[in-house]
Symmetry: C2
Subunit: 198 residues, 2 copies
């Protein structure tokens, strides 16, 4: 069913992700949900509370998959391929997500810090060990794990963050962009593996 609460959450997600906390208006959210402002406050005490509900959901959609992937037991090349493919696919479905997250973390890094470190130890320990192991095994060249990971993340996420800029500069339209990103699901892993394989 599509309860009023659900309608509000869907509307809030759309408006907040497009305009951010500062740019969003409670009126926009009410309009998008097809209700009035008073009812919004009946369900969610204030704008902040509603915002954090949406923001937390966005974080939970974005990060757990990253963490799970890089801590998995798969061989490195396979890990890289599935990571890029799954991430680009997810962002094709939620194109506003990356910029939303990046922005709001930028505005409240302190709050973020708490949410992030819930029982997690150093994210990169396992990944670092794996990269070193595959180097010792002669599978890959010597490479800094932090650089490798950041390169992978950059090439997957940045195109969505900079999408409007890229569309203008490249002259692509929406459909061409979509096709381009579909290609990148395999192009990016190929590019990375080509660079590090021995």
């Amino acid at each position: 069913m599509d309860s009023t609460s659900d309608k509000i959450l869907a509307a809030a997600k759309k408006v907040f992700q497009e305009k951010g906390m500062a740019g969003a208006r409670m009126q926009d959210i009410a309009d998008e949900a097809g209700i009035n402002k008073a009812l919004l406050h009946y369900y969610f005490k204030n704008k902040e509370q509603l915002f954090f509900r949406i923001f937390s959901e966005a974080l939970n959609q974005f990060f757990p998959k990253i963490i799970e992937n890089i801590q998995s037991e798969k061989p490195l090349f396979e890990k890289i391929s599935t990571f890029c493919s799954a991430y680009i696919e997810m962002m094709l479905k939620n194109p506003y997500l990356p910029l939303f997250i990046v922005n709001e973390i930028n505005n409240h890094p302190d709050r973020m810090r708490e949410i992030f470190w819930q029982g997690r130890e150093n994210l990169f320990l396992g990944f670092t060990a794996q990269v070193e192991a595959e180097y010792s095994a002669g599978i890959i060249k010597q490479v800094s794990p932090a650089n490798l990971f950041l390169n992978m993340l950059s090439m997957c996420v940045f195109p969505f963050v900079a999408k409007p800029m890229w569309l203008i500069a490249s002259g692509m339209d929406e459909l061409q962009f979509r096709f381009f990103m579909e290609q990148r699901k395999t192009e990016v892993p190929r590019f990375i593996i080509e660079s590090i394989k021995k």
Copy 2:
């Protein structure tokens, strides 16, 4: 000398780049400049006008160097090296610039379109020709110019866009980040060239 107008511009740059158009307050800018709101309006008719002054300067700082570089006559590998090095250096000095630009283009893609296409024809024509020429000459593998360029841009710019997130996830502090990015000035070109060289 440090005229009132200069103080305002410096303050506005800081506040707008940190908080964006929607998040910035004229009061913040006045405080930062050590004056009051009325004086702000004496020098700049309204917030929009002040914002566009700052935004235009940011665009002019960001894009001309990209365009000049990719349209230059240098060999590809050299082009990649100087691009990454110069861009990372510039962003180390203006860390808020990339996210500011990306955001405001996102909020007003229409305005941007006009500013951008001032007598410019397809940006990538020359670059595409060069990549194809170096492929024919047996210097590099076959590679899509758009993907190559976007990969390069992503690996240079994204770390600054996602800096607060990266600091939290990696555990780096400001100084370590700076050192890390200094390394990437040579690491990123190496990574790219390793991937495409024959």
